[in-house]
Subunit: 417 residues, 2 copies
Amino acid sequence: MRAELITVGTELLTGQIVNTNAQYLAEKMAEIGVDVYFQTAVGDNRDRLLSVLELAKDRSQLVILCGGLGPTEDDLTKQTLAEFLGRDLIADPDAMAKLDHFFASRPTYHRTPNNDRQAELVAGSRPLPNRTGLAVGGLVEQGGVTYVVLPGPPSELKPMVQEQLLPFLSDGQRLYSRVLRFIGIGESQLVTVLADLIANQTDPTIAPYAKTGEVTLRLSTKSSRQELADAAFDQLEATILAHEGLADCLYGYGEDNSLAAVVVNLLKERQLTLTAAESLTGGLLQATLTEQAGSSAIFKGGFVTYSLEQKAQMLGISPELLRQHGTVSAVAAEAMAEQSRRLTGSDLGVALTGVAGPVELEGQSVGTVYLGLATEHGVISHKLTIGDRGRQHIRQIAVLHALNLVRQAICSDKTMV
Amino acid sequence: MRAELITVGTELLTGQIVNTNAQYLAEKMAEIGVDVYFQTAVGDNRDRLLSVLELAKDRSQLVILCGGLGPTEDDLTKQTLAEFLGRDLIADPDAMAKLDHFFASRPTYHRTPNNDRQAELVAGSRPLPNRTGLAVGGLVEQGGVTYVVLPGPPSELKPMVQEQLLPFLSDGQRLYSRVLRFIGIGESQLVTVLADLIANQTDPTIAPYAKTGEVTLRLSTKSSRQELADAAFDQLEATILAHEGLADCLYGYGEDNSLAAVVVNLLKERQLTLTAAESLTGGLLQATLTEQAGSSAIFKGGFVTYSLEQKAQMLGISPELLRQHGTVSAVAAEAMAEQSRRLTGSDLGVALTGVAGPVELEGQSVGTVYLGLATEHGVISHKLTIGDRGRQHIRQIAVLHALNLVRQAICSDKTMV
């Protein structure tokens, strides 16, 4: 089914609010296999809403309008849809009874004629009752197009969609997804490696998406059962991971997952503890780790050593060594990792030192980062050349690479099992 | 000027991401007095993008396209606009030089033909250089309509809009804004205090907006000159701050400002250094401080002391004291602040200990936080009851309150001048 969303509200056009309803509705439609081809935001304006409806009726079979059902003067979605369809607005008896009850139980509230509009529907609509508010929603068909009217407040929209609209619209088939999460490979490189597969994709489909420092692939298929979808995903995933180098870059699955969550869980599983000594990231790695609930099982504490003096003093590293090799060096990263591990008695110590910018440091360019990792087997270091991509980006990417170094060490080291 | 936004990306239509770019662009256009009448989200699809451009050219004078400038197969915004306008795509020499430099300095990255697309522009465009990324933006006029092409990643979009697009578009009358930033007062409380002023607002207008832990008031007025706008803002601001308690809560001005930036600048001005010992926030305060460029002038290093043992060992606090009073206590917060200050030789030491959740700790409920602050005059503590508002919220709010404690101490203490 070809669908489109029309979100109504001047506050969207002035940027006062973010259009989270469009995202929510789009996600829900995808879940039941309805393809949304257009989303339009339009102000509380009769003429412009009419022009959008005129377009929509020719290009979509399902038109979902959201917002503008309230009791104020500028709420005109239902009136405009009624005019567009050449129908009347009529009161829904259940919604009107709810309105009566609302005002009867609140004697201090003033009921205005505008309030009654909330209980009205385009004639011929199937009502969508509003469990958490007063504005009734509706669904009406004309000329082969289904028009749906929904309230704007998310607290009213979501229950109505979940409890009324989705069960009505879905019939057996729904969309399943599997999200593969990669680190250590750029989006363009991943897409080049998988070019043939992506060019010839049919079912499941493959959609790459880049976030800061990582890339995800979303596999999607329509199916009647989870098991059938999973079988299709398993097969496609195996084909993807057969490409050289990709299996090592796959760190996890799922929309709400993160590298930090994966690392914390790996450490928990193996009953290992991690500490850190951070310079350019200033505590960001430790803050990212401790975002995860239950991280106290794997993290006891660590160091933010920003200046040369504090690297020396807090970690017990010779200041001469740091001056000789520079604080932005493999030697510094290795010493920081090893000393943080030793001082806190942790199983692993990770260190980050580098140049977050905006200016270069010790003759090293912005975006140069050294990672150190100390384990019971010894200490290694790794140089990153992130480039001048802005202070925050550099720090975030450095943290992801450091977490990935920890992940790889745990996964590759059989003695850590 | 009648404008519309076209945001391009299938991930918008499937609800994978929220369209924050539409909100950002709408807000920026409102600021310079450009009226946005339509926002359309469309997938990475040539035919549908062409259909939206066809509509746009007849109803808008300014058409801003955002997204789809990347190096992958499905990025086709520039190609489609070129086709729509009957123009070629040509390489922008500066953008190509930047691309060359990027790959030359990263020998391990594979350059693919797709990458070159990022440096291309619709023929006849005025280039909009991308300071924080590789995809060049552009601005081209045809048939009385100005078409603007912008990158999708917010980290690239925002600098390009702020530094390139807005100065080009604004001329003569424009909308001026002053943003007042408050901490320590909720949005509903601020709105209640200012109810009369907000109800009777004319020019400048007043728009309150709540973010995590803080509230802003945006004053806006249209004017031909900055000086005229400033005079109006000065008068309204004085009226606002005459309300009891508000002057103490005002911590700064401006859209891109933050409490961390204000605190770092105050410390720099007074030539003071700050350290921290963090428990529940796990390094988030120090990461927030070091987000600010040049923070090394005021921050040498600090501690993340998550477990009781590391609070004792890293900070040299008696474990018996911590066990007796609890690690979530005023005593612990004060000892952590004082010891971090002493061990690093900093002027101020701030400490955070508390319960981020999801479960209670030492019989203290989720959202209970103790802040400690040590200065040359001694040490104080402050208890926060944030409530169970989710782990991340609690940590962020705790950091803001800790920074505000530092701000108030510096501002109130004449000896720190």
